[in-house]
Symmetry: C6
Subunit: 262 residues, 6 copies
């Protein structure tokens, strides 16, 4: 772990392009006007950090259900800022780290960010960084306390910092008083409208037009059609599965029905 | 433990044939159509990983009662995939490992899998890997957090990975939010039909035809006949025991009756 | 502890004759037909392991009240198997060991057993091996998890293993799901019949015939005579105490009465 | 951490001017007469320490809601004392410290203070220094016990010490009996009056006179106008955000409304 | 602690005369016939160990209220046995030991005892050896498990061992199932009769005959006279205090009254 | 901590004059006859230890509300004993010690005391020595067990020891069964009578006669006058504060009123 930590602690200045792009592997499909609104809000925070002298530190939390697209959206906002320093803090690059190594990695990235006049730091999946599990409950208080302080600590004079964080466990962050440490929060919703499914199907192109229309019609006229709530991540997965089946349309509608009846 | 860990962490690329075969020591008896369905579903996931570009990571959980055949089925699906990399993560090869050593072993196998273009990893008996015990409750959060991240972390671009896991403690995995990390789940049922017992008896061959028919008739006409629910693993054990007795049929029906009245 | 562990981990192949005999210091008195039944069942398991190809691992739990003779019976079954490898895992030989040292000792004995084609391992007083105490409750999860895996892990191909374990805390083992890991269990009862006391008195020979008859008559006609439930271990202790007294018969009946009124 | 601790433990005598000024980045706006009262009370404690022979140690706690200006006010009182020794104990300079390192840092600053005839020590955000989290709850008892003793330990004969501390978690400090260790406490309130918002708007100058008057009128005539309770820190943030918008007045009133309806 | 442990672990064979005598600093006053009965019972156990071949290990627990004389009586029984090996295990000689050091010390004394053909080991104040405190509750499970095994582990063939233990917390030992590990137990009562106080006063000689009679008369005729329950240890302390006063009799009766009204 | 411990563990024989005097910085004002009674009782215990042969160890607990003068009174009794060995065990000299270091320091002082024929040890603020906090609750069981044994362990033959301890948390000490380990206890009350305030004002001399009489009259005729309960420590602090004000009398009466209404 120590060796892991050392390696991890050495990242140089600059932009974590590749890592962030990997978070948007399937692009951003504008299946609902709320997606555009989220991206606009993101742009607003980017501008505020760049322009305002009185608020050199702005922190925003993207929260919503599992798989609703939080990581992809945060990554997109970060990449479009074009700030000279953009970094991703992700549990996926810290598998098997001790709490101390995680804390060291996080601190190091913030310290690097402080050196740049204009920085964005994306903190992905806070509950996972905290090693959160509801049985106990257990979590890393070392990482939590580090975040509680770093989210409020202003960068050195003249420097500016935007923090974008994601979580699917907002209520736990409230209990931890982590929410109070953020300036703002944005809700990232599930796919709920049949028209959104239509847009996603069109965008992915795995169904031809008549199949898509048949599927959309079937869902619209079904009794579960108004109870749909599926993360975009899972929806893409379901469509891809169904696309492998001979009975694409039926497979898709059955899977969506099962999911909606849970 | 450190030495254990080191040794364990060195496995080379390739296929864990012997280990997987040992998990199907008594073969797969098709005592019920659900067995065939499970194997077909398994094949489907194998195909999806091989074919789909949008879902390079597919994870499936096999869950069901103790001894229902989960490990044997997961091993069979893995072996029939004929992927170039097939590995088994099993508590039996980690007796006495510390949490850290377990975590290291698991990470190592995943890292090896990432290097192969097409891989299957079987994670056997998750509750045991987690050192779960309901008194407390206690478990290894280090191993849990590692699994929570690895189950969602995609392999490098162009590479593909199928994860097959087994558990007899689904509800605990739900509390740990491990279920959310899987794409799908398959239920592996107990033997419940008298016709299934008939098939198993025939397949094992320890009873001659008249003994088998006598046993089946006795169970069918009994009052516990419709309350039978026995894992295939235990059923084989019971038949083997009864086969040692002079009164084979009576011994078997008595044991099944006792088990069914519990 | 480390040094302890090392020494303990070096036991060679073979049979732990002396240790096992010490567990049957006062012999096996056949005070009730259930004793014979237990020994017969034990012989059956020994035969099954020797003969059956499909069940190379058989594990049996002897459970019952404190002092009912579990250790003596398990030791007797093990010794009469005449398998080339017979070993005792006992808390008495691990006083002051750390959990790790206990776990190492247990693993070592199993690894030795795997090397013999035919082995018996006696695991005595599981609750004590687990450092169980109901206040807390506290216990060694390291030892528990080791047992949970070892009880289900088959020996290498062609090798066979019989595991005999004892406990006076069956309900706790149920909570720990350790019971599920055993193939079978045998109940070892207390002495409850006056005729059993008669047999024990006769066998020990510390009372002459008239004293014995007087004692048996007194207990039979008493009002506590049908509430007796005493472990054979304690009964032998009581008889020995009474034998030191001038008023042997009265001392014995008084002590049995006190015990029965608790 | 050890290296951190060593570095931290070496601060020389003197005044932590820069650090303290950074805590009052946006000045002290006298938006309400209570602000003046707090500063006067602070001056009184400064005088008492300087003059009284019988009370060489005076400790005061500034408590109030998150963002109400506690740190800025404590820093201001400390700086205006013009004592030869003024130091800030802040969680922001101890990110990632172990409990031991925190405790060492705190002790070192107090030991330095004891060497000066006249000292002020500002202990900022006690709950953060204690690594407090309500889940569990968890906190550093090492740091707590250190504070419990240091808050009552008089400086050496002839020396004098003023301790100013801040917290937004008074009730937790009560449970910890930390409150009993303070001689006095001062409440720092939120902004609640519309006239206060008017003063802040005027002071910041981001709105022109007509915009300010429009905003004030809108809030005054609204139904949430009498339910406002916002920390000065958040209010400045809101005004700065709104100032970036084309519809400054509406943006500000909307944000204040949302906050007030929570 | 390690050095402590080493020193402690080196005690040679033999008899701990001085230590045991110090436990009976004020002698054994026979203030009630139960004292004689306890000593006789003790002698009986000594004889049984010496004579009986079937019970080479006898363990007895002396329990009763704080200060009732348990340690003095156990020490007296041990000393009068005149066995070649007599040792005291006492918390007073292990101040500041770690659990491990305590466990090592205890094991060492038992191992020494096993080497003597005839031994007595006194385990004083078990709850203190266990570091028991009801808040939590907390205790040393390492020491507990060591005692649980040592209390049941027979000495080597041909050797014999008497264990005498004391506690004022019998109910806790029951919860820990430590009681089950003892063969017998003896209750040591408080002083409750006025005639007992009379005997103690006469024996100590700090009051002259008329003072003693006056005190006894006063208590006899008082309304608290039938509610007295004082440990012999405290009674001696009270008499000594009163003896320092000018008004001996009044001081004594007042103190006894206060104690009895609690 | 180790170095701290070593230094601390080296104190030579003798009397801790300076430290003890510092605990009585503002003298002992005899504001109530109970103060004299406490000092007389203290003298009695000193005499008893010096004279009685049967009670070589006497331990007394001074308990009462926060700031009622416990430490000052215990220090005064210790100093007036004029025993050759007088030492103070205080949390203030152990800031930042580990439990082990605290335990070592305490043991060392007792071992030094045992070497003197006549000793007094003052154990100040037991709850702080135990690192007690009610959240959890948490405390050092190592220090607790050390005190539980040391409070009952007699000094070597011919040597004598008086232990004076203080606490403001008697009920917690009861739960820990620490109270049972003391021979006696003394209650140290708050200032409750207006006449006591009069005496304190007169003694301190910060108010002139007419101011004092005015204050006393105001309190006497007020409605909170019969609800006053203030520790002498806090009362001195309040008088000193008021003395700095232009309106001395009003400031004092207001502060006393506020305190009494809590
Ligand atoms: N409108 C959209 N918003 C977000 N993601 C989208 C959108 N359209 C398509 N996607 C794709 O959907 C996936 C969203 O997955 P992502 O990992 O961002 O979800 P998540 O909410 O972070 O999941 P989790 O809760 O597991 O962390 C990505 O592959 C992304 O490319
Ligand atoms: N249809 C079947 N499905 C699964 N296993 C079968 C089947 N027919 C026979 N078997 C045999 O039954 C045994 C099943 O045991 P397996 O270890 O897979 O059960 P399990 O559910 O994993 O048990 P556990 O809950 O203890 O982990 C194997 O020996 C296997 O060869
Ligand atoms: N029929 C019998 N069954 C078992 N033990 C017997 C029998 N007859 C005599 N004994 C003697 O009784 C004693 C039984 O003690 P043993 O230690 O086996 O009891 P246990 O149930 O294991 O006790 P514990 O619950 O304390 O572990 C032995 O000394 C054994 O020689
Ligand atoms: N009257 C005022 N009182 C305090 N701060 C003011 C005042 N007017 C303007 N400010 C500014 O408001 C901000 C107050 O923030 P500060 O950090 O002191 O709040 P806080 O209560 O300590 O917050 P937290 O609860 O997060 O610790 C500072 O930037 C300060 O310059
Ligand atoms: N009959 C008696 N029985 C026991 N002790 C007696 C008797 N008569 C006088 N004593 C004296 O009384 C004291 C008893 O104290 P002892 O330490 O044995 O009590 P204890 O019950 O062990 O106390 P604790 O509960 O604190 O361990 C000893 O000094 C002993 O010499
Ligand atoms: N009669 C008195 N009794 C005790 N202290 C007095 C008395 N008169 C004046 N004093 C002064 O009052 C102060 C009492 O403080 P002290 O520290 O002894 O209180 P305490 O009860 O130990 O407080 P805490 O509960 O915080 O430990 C001392 O400065 C002492 O000189
Ligand atoms: Mg995400
Ligand atoms: Mg399995
Ligand atoms: Mg046994
Ligand atoms: Mg602050
Ligand atoms: Mg005792
Ligand atoms: Mg004090």
């Amino acid at each position: 772990d120590f060796i892991h930590a050392l390696e991890e602690v050495r990242p140089a200045f600059g932009v974590a392009e590749t890592e962030l792009q990997q978070c948007v592997a399937n692009g951003i499909i504008k299946f609902h006007y709320s997606i555009e609104r989220i991206l606009n809000d993101g742009q607003l925070y980017v501008d505020q950090v760049r322009n305002s002298a009185r608020t050199p530190l702005v922190s925003v939390l993207l929260h919503g259900p599992v798989g609703s697209g939080k990581t992809a959206l945060a990554s997109t906002i970060a990449m479009t800022s074009e700030f000279p320093f953009i970094k991703l803090i992700s549990p996926e690059s810290m598998v098997g780290f001790t709490e101390q190594a995680k804390m060291g990695t996080i601190s190091k990235i913030f310290n690097d960010a402080y050196k740049s006049p204009l920085s964005v730091v994306v903190i992905d999946s806070i509950e996972r960084l905290l090693d959160w599990v509801s049985i106990g409950p257990r979590f890393s208080n070392i990482v939590l306390q580090t975040l509680l302080v770093l989210l409020k600590k202003p960068p050195p004079k003249g420097h500016k910092l935007l923090i974008l964080a994601t979580t699917s466990q907002k209520s736990i962050l409230e209990q931890m008083e982590l929410i109070d440490a953020f300036n703002s929060s944005i809700y990232v919703p599930n796919v709920t409208a049949v028209s959104s499914i239509d847009t996603v199907l069109r965008d992915l192109g795995s169904f031809d037009d008549s199949q898509r229309q048949e599927a959309v019609r079937a869902i619209t006229t079904s009794d579960y059609g108004n109870k749909i709530s599926i993360g975009i991540k899972k929806l893409i997965y379901m469509i891809e599965m169904a696309a492998q089946d001979i009975e694409k349309v039926e497979k898709l509608t059955t899977t969506i029905e099962e999911e909606s009846r849970k």
